[in-house]
């Protein structure tokens, strides 16, 4: 899906836990997430801390759009 959307000219940030698979399938902007069963959350945190975590992840993804990349890039933050 990432590749097909990019093929029509819309940039994609792929948020995923297993970044090696994302690299293998050819995503260009990759944001590492928490865990496979809960990529954008963490049930061990309090609701407030989890909200902060989610905010940070989505913020990082939005910022990644504005970064020029000339090769596949995993954004560490």
């Amino acid at each position: 899906m990432v590749k097909e959307i990019e093929r029509v000219g819309i940039p994609v940030v792929h948020m995923c836990t297993i970044t090696p698979i994302s690299l293998t399938v050819g995503a260009n902007r990759i944001i590492p997430t928490i865990a496979i069963p809960h990529p954008l959350g963490n049930p061990t945190l309090t609701a407030e801390d989890e909200y902060a975590l989610r905010y940070k992840l989505v913020d990082a993804a939005i910022k990644a759009f504005s970064v020029e990349v000339d090769k596949q890039t995993v954004f560490e933050f």
């Binding site: 836990t17 297993i18 090696p20 293998t24 865990a35």
Partner: protein, 430 residues
């Protein structure tokens, strides 16, 4: 470490007033078995009823939903007992002597997670794909107490199955085996002296540990909490590793598979002839990337520490564990250790889609155990042990899988052990 396995050939299983193994026949009194199974707090608390049944090869019988299959075994000499840390006290197993009721199996069934259990057909098309159509099965169907949570139910059925296998296995304790085989691996220096010219080979054994009832236990430890470590191969023959898995039926390693690991068997077959079988490295398949990196880092580090020349890597499950598989491959290959991978494929019904979720050019020696998406039609059976309620929802099934006449149209994925990634089956491809 040296272990003798004494194989007692079982030719028939019968319900009886007594419990015994005589002249190759396993006699079981269901009430005695149940009493032993129930002597456990989890079973007492969470299992409302247990029904025992017998299924034999060639019968028109369907068993579903299947959770685990266990071979009845008994330690007769040497430290520890079967399933250390769970049924027996923690003690290092894998030496001395163990008796095996060869040809018999305990099958546990119940709805557990429902959609992640499998089917065993004792005859017809489905029987071709599961090794457990060829065993004499004592089937234990466990009904939960109302309101029991799935993880409590899973644990109680796991314990119940292991207790059933332990009780039945013990019936072979004083029986003279039909055949005795010896398995021995050596210390690092000793092995190098004995086989100075043979390549040093290890087995990287990946264990399913994704959590949410996708779990494997090592000496009673939930394997998602281990770092990669070493086992003598014979430890696996005494139940050091057991399945707590509710995952796709075709490629989960049941406890029976762990006890009869064909990679271990084949490496022992070649041990001292074409290679020096050094040891097993167990590693897990967790759901955090850091765990995957750590697990594969450590399996590679241990292989290097042991000066291995080559490793066989077997996967369990599919999807994200494909990433663990490839990491285990690449890290070994990059330090000069050759790898052969055993996996299965999810290549679509027509076999034309990408087989694995991850890949790498260094993974250039791969054995496939078959395409789990292949469609099969299973004929109706005269008798069902368990229930058909979950067939449409099982992994590999779809709405309408269970047809009105009792036949089943589904993917191979639904059959227990069909594409086992230790290679405990007959499907492959070139």
């Amino acid at each position: 470490m040296k272990l003798e396995l004494g194989f007692i050939k079982i030719n028939d299983v019968q319900f009886s007033n007594e419990c015994a193994v005589k002249d190759g026949i396993l006699y079981v009194n269901p009430e005695d078995v149940k009493a032993f199974i129930y002597d456990n707090d989890d079973v007492k608390t969470y299992i409302k009823s247990i029904t025992l049944d017998i299924a034999k090869p060639g019968e028109s019988v369907r068993i579903t939903p299947v959770k685990d299959v266990i071979e009845p075994r008994c330690k007769v000499a040497g430290p520890g007992g079967m399933f250390p840390g769970v049924i027996s006290k923690v003690d290092t197993v894998g030496s001395g002597r163990t008796h095996v009721l060869k040809g018999a199996a305990i099958v546990t069934a119940g709805k557990i997670v429902g959609f992640q259990e499998g089917i065993i057909d004792m005859s017809g098309e489905g029987a071709k794909y599961t090794p457990f159509s060829k065993t004499l099965n004592l089937v234990m169907v466990a009904e939960p107490v109302e309101g029991t949570k799935q993880h409590d139910y899973e644990r109680a059925v796991r314990f119940a199955g292991l207790r059933c296998a332990t009780f039945v296995g013990a019936l072979g304790k004083d029986v003279e085996p039909d055949e005795v085989k010896t398995f021995e691996t050596y210390g690092i220096m000793e092995g190098a002296k004995l086989f100075p010219d043979l390549p040093r080979v290890g087995y990287v054994h990946m264990l399913q540990t994704q959590g949410l009832l996708h779990d494997t236990y090592v000496y009673g430890v939930d394997a998602k909490r281990i770092v990669s470590t070493l086992l003598y191969p014979t430890e696996t023959m005494d139940g050091a590793i057991l399945s707590g898995n509710c995952v796709s039926a075709c490629d989960k390693n049941t406890t029976y598979h762990h006890l009869n690991n064909p990679v271990v068997a084949e490496l022992f077959e070649q041990h001292g002839k074409t290679l020096n079988y050094v040891c097993n490295i167990i590693t897990n398949e967790n759901v955090y990337l850091a765990d995957k990196q750590r697990g594969s880092d450590w399996s590679a580090k241990l292989a290097k520490l042991l000066d291995l020349d080559a490793v066989i890597v077997s996967e369990e499950g599919f999807g994200n564990p494909d990433a663990d598989l490839i990491m285990n491959c690449v890290k070994q290959e990059k330090q000069g250790i050759k790898t052969v991978l055993i996996t299965d494929e999810y290549a679509g019904c027509d076999g034309k889609s990408q087989s694995l979720a991850d890949s790498d050019p260094l993974a250039d020696a791969v054995v496939t155990a078959g395409n789990a998406n292949m469609e099969v039609v299973l004929p109706p059976m005269d008798k069902v042990i368990g229930m058909l309620d979950y067939v449409d929802y099982c992994s590999g099934g779809h709405a309408g899988s269970l047809r009105p006449d009792g036949s089943i149209e589904a993917e191979l994925q639904i059959i227990t052990g069909a594409t086992n990634e230790m290679g405990f089956n007959c499907m492959s491809a070139r």
